[in-house]
Symmetry: C2
């Protein structure tokens, strides 16, 4: 997640990401973004032409960031167990920094045609699913549809961060305490998903 000064264009994009992904302010206007970046709003149009195009770039990059996680974790010669640990580690770190990134993607794809999402074909998940299947055959993890396994994993990682405010209100816990709970989750999730018999 870059935040360095690669010029105004990058600054605007990074600021937009910060507002959407970190603050979860999905209704932010171009003015909000410009203000937060400390630049004149016209520059948003100078560099991105329109609000829509800025959004498309941000969306595209967020999708790539997600794909990258899968790719990074599942290339190399680690064992499944190690890959899983790596995936949990990287994904949780990113999601703690940008808890609303997925939420942004979801609402943006809902905004227009749902069909757009279907075009995306991801090459990184296939080997992941295959490895999960292998691991089930070996008896190391509980047998189920590998897709369920994958959904469970991402659900356990993403949801509590995504719904932090909601959970805090329902569980009546403070920000600090919640942060403490989140830090414990890496280990907890691993134990749930890859139990030591």
């Amino acid at each position: 997640m870059p935040v360095k000064d690669k010029g105004t264009e990058q600054l605007i994009k990074d600021t937009a990401k910060k507002i959407f992904f970190a603050d979860g302010k999905l209704h932010a206007t171009t003015q909000d973004i410009a203000d937060a970046a400390g630049v004149n709003r016209t520059l948003v149009h100078y560099y991105f032409r329109s609000r829509k195009l800025l959004f498309e770039q941000v969306t595209e990059e967020a999708m790539n960031e997600l794909r990258q996680i899968m790719s990074d974790a599942f290339t190399g010669k680690l064992t499944f167990k190690e890959k899983l640990k790596k995936l949990i580690n990287v994904f949780m770190d990113q999601t703690m920094a940008y808890p609303y990134r997925e939420l942004f993607l979801i609402t943006e794809t809902n905004r227009y045609n749902q069909a757009h999402a279907d075009e995306v074909h991801d090459t990184h998940t296939k080997p992941f699913l295959a490895e999960i299947k292998e691991e089930m055959d070996k008896g190391n993890i509980q047998t189920m549809d590998p897709r369920h396994y994958m959904m469970n994993l991402f659900a356990l990682m993403a949801y509590p961060l995504l719904s932090a405010n909601l959970s805090k209100s329902f569980l009546k816990i403070s920000d600090q305490e919640y942060h403490k709970l989140m830090k414990q989750r890496k280990q907890l999730i691993f134990d749930m998903i890859y139990p030591t018999k």
Copy 2:
């Protein structure tokens, strides 16, 4: 989730909920809502005065619907196991009908002051957490912070429905197939969260 004709006011509110909670169109305008309800936009103002007030009502009711689930499932003299089944059943059914209800709540609370959420105090979760603790002491479920247990449960239920479009694109599966997977999840979640030793 009422959809009956309790007059125009109710129709507008139900339509708004449908657009937000079922379609996930968080950026819908008052015009969008009026069109979908088949009424003149002025009526939105006649009944709710302003867009903001309509949103507040919808938000408030959605929060109550969530509280109601907890309350319903955890009153009465069922065993923990039965209560859990009931909770999963009701929550999954509702979330399948309104997958974006929580997403709406999250973005709405992010929109203004985060603080607002903190005021909410929920009386229904406390007995739930206490019962979870008991069940751990009995050795029926895995020992952990009961709050983690609760987060896990809701994560497994809500996230795959919330992120359906995203998941479909990453897992390259069709709507039908996804629906089939979702129907399997009630049992799967119960087995994960309340394992038969």
